[in-house]
């Protein structure tokens, strides 16, 4: 129990005295997972909207695959991504294994199904009459989608939170494709694993607290946006 208090104390001291390495690890976590979530949004929202609005043969199969993807284990994704990125692997010419880019790629694969599926559900649960009404008022297809997404802001922001939450807290893929290299690919989750095996439990607790505060802050901002837009 005292290790936890020691960890809380250490977390506080690390942040107050601005330990350079801790800030860098925290910043990298935010940047890697932030970029991964944003890129997932760029792909997942159009894809989810498309799937939500269209009907074609094999759609249900595709949707069920995406829904399964929401539960895909990060370690499996980490394994597949790292094998593909090996020097002598199919994508070895990119030279990005053990870099933050490799981590971003793995995290995109983890968050994409979540964001796509949430978007699909959000668009699909809107009243179909709304869509007809918008079109009847002379909106183009792009305008219609924009208005629909505006209407579905609440669940779409939930999609962002779920996607970001999945990747910032993920460790299996990050450690495999990033390698937990100090000053380069060490993020909060992989640092926690590393410090735990070095027996620095209070530092591991301190890092955990920083991670939880970070996740809370991001979600707090997103929740503010989500709830504010709801009231208007």
């Amino acid at each position: 129990m005292e290790i936890i208090f020691e960890g809380i104390k250490q977390a506080f001291l690390l942040l107050v005295y601005g330990d350079h390495e801790i800030w860098q690890i925290t910043w990298l976590s935010l940047v890697v997972s932030g970029i991964a979530t944003l890129l997932s949004l760029c792909i997942g929202i159009p894809l989810g909207s498309f799937l939500g609005l269209s009907r074609f043969t094999g759609r249900n199969l595709l949707v069920s695959l995406i829904n399964t993807g929401m539960g895909s284990p990060p370690v499996v994704i980490g394994l597949i991504v790292s094998i593909s990125l090996w020097r002598n692997g199919p994508l070895g010419f990119l030279h990005i294994l053990y870099t933050p880019i490799a981590m971003i790629i793995a995290q995109i694969i983890i968050s994409l199904p979540i964001i796509t599926s949430f978007t699909l559900t959000a668009i699909q649960q809107l009243d179909p009459k709304l869509r007809l009404q918008i079109l009847a008022l002379g909106a183009s297809r792009v305008q219609m989608i924009w208005l629909l997404m505006n209407e579905a802001r609440l669940p779409l922001l939930a999609a962002i939170m779920a996607g970001f939450g999945a990747v910032i807290s993920e460790v299996g893929a990050s450690i495999m494709v990033g390698g937990n290299i100090s000053g380069h690919t060490r993020v909060l989750t992989t640092a926690i694993v590393g410090e735990n095996s070095k027996g620095n439990f209070s530092l591991a607790i301190a890092l955990s607290l920083i991670l939880m505060v970070l996740v809370y802050m991001v979600n707090f901002i997103l929740t503010m946006i989500q709830q504010r837009t709801k009231l208007r």
């Binding site: 940047v31 932030g34 970029i35 944003l38 090996w86 020097r87 002598n88 070895g92 030279h95 990005i96 053990y98 870099t99 933050p100 880019i101 971003i104 505006n150 390698g179 937990n180 290299i181 100090s182 380069h184 590393g194 735990n196 095996s197 070095k198 027996g199 439990f201 946006i225 504010r228 837009t229 208007r232």
Partner: protein, 289 residues
């Protein structure tokens, strides 16, 4: 609606900033290509903090960027076999010899040694404390104790299997024998929680000692020697290997200055050194292992 537009503008600004970072990362990665080395090593050298001390010195001196991938010796050599690492720092002599024999590595050199120890709860239910023979101790553990094994093909794991073999016991599938598949640090924690016995390198044990509540029960057996060697991955076999960087790092590890640092490492914190430098000893005088 206006608020929403402003919000979207802010978001796109933020996206812009993140893109700049993404591009920065890409450029950084492309630039690092020539000057980076992948060092595959055992968990013990990483977990005790030795590499955290040595690698910055090397990077500063040579300008290379070292990517340390801390896995077991078995996995490190598997990475070398596929040309996925440039240089290995490992402690599994038998597997290393096989690795060299198949032509996967070049220039295998002794860097340092310490020893393996058998640790367990101070109550010592199997009564092995002070025994001189590791295989005798293992026989007693098999009869009266619980043993926690790495089970990950690491140097420690290979050593452990050789002791079981010497003891004439096949522990696989026995109720008193459990495998973690984890690194040394975590395996020690599991052993401590289960009040069990395990084999560990002295370095990792000393690093974690204060949290563990495990005592050293058997030490000093010649069979418990633990030697660390550096191997460069054979560039003739794998063109993508950074041979120059690998050589620079190996030379660095056996240089006088670094051997001196290894000699003193851990003295201040644990009262005794964690490793003994070996590079300047005559190979014939060195331990058989």
């Amino acid at each position: 609606m206006i608020g929403y537009v402003i919000f979207m503008k802010k978001v796109s600004g933020f996206i812009g900033i993140l893109w700049v970072f993404a591009i920065g990362f890409t450029l950084g990665a492309a630039q690092a290509k020539q000057k980076e080395i992948i060092l595959a090593t055992t968990t013990s050298t990483q977990d005790c903090g030795l590499l955290d001390l040595l690698i910055p010195i090397f990077e500063k001196k040579t300008g290379y960027f070292v990517k340390t991938i801390a896995v077991g010796s078995g996995q490190a050599m598997a990475m070398g076999q596929r040309g996925e690492a440039d240089v290995l720092l490992v402690h599994s002599p038998e597997s290393e010899e096989r690795f060299m024999a198949e032509g996967s590595g070049i220039n295998r050199r002794l860097v340092m040694h310490n020893d393996f120890i058998i640790v367990g709860t101070p109550e010592d239910p199997a009564g092995i404390k002070g025994m001189k023979s590791s295989s005798e101790a293992f026989r007693k553990i098999a009869a009266l104790g619980i043993y926690i094994s790495r089970g990950d093909n690491s140097g420690t794991d290979v050593k452990e299997r050789s002791i079981w073999k010497a003891a004439g016991i096949n522990p696989q599938g026995q109720r008193w024998y459990q495998q973690t598949g984890l690194g040394m640090g975590q395996t020690l924690n599991v052993a401590a929680e289960k009040r069990a016995y395990t084999l560990t390198d002295r370095g990792t044990y000393l690093t974690l000692q204060k949290h563990l509540g495990l005592s050293i029960l058997v030490e000093g057996d010649a069979a418990l020697a633990n030697t660390y060697r550096i191997i460069e991955v054979n560039p003739d076999k794998w063109q993508k290997v950074n041979a120059q960087g690998a050589k620079a790092f190996s030379d660095f590890m056996v240089s006088k200055k670094i051997q001196k640092i290894i000699k003193d490492f851990g003295k201040d914190r644990y009262g005794s050194p964690l490793f003994f430098p070996d590079a300047f000893k005559d190979e014939k005088l060195k331990m058989k292992n």
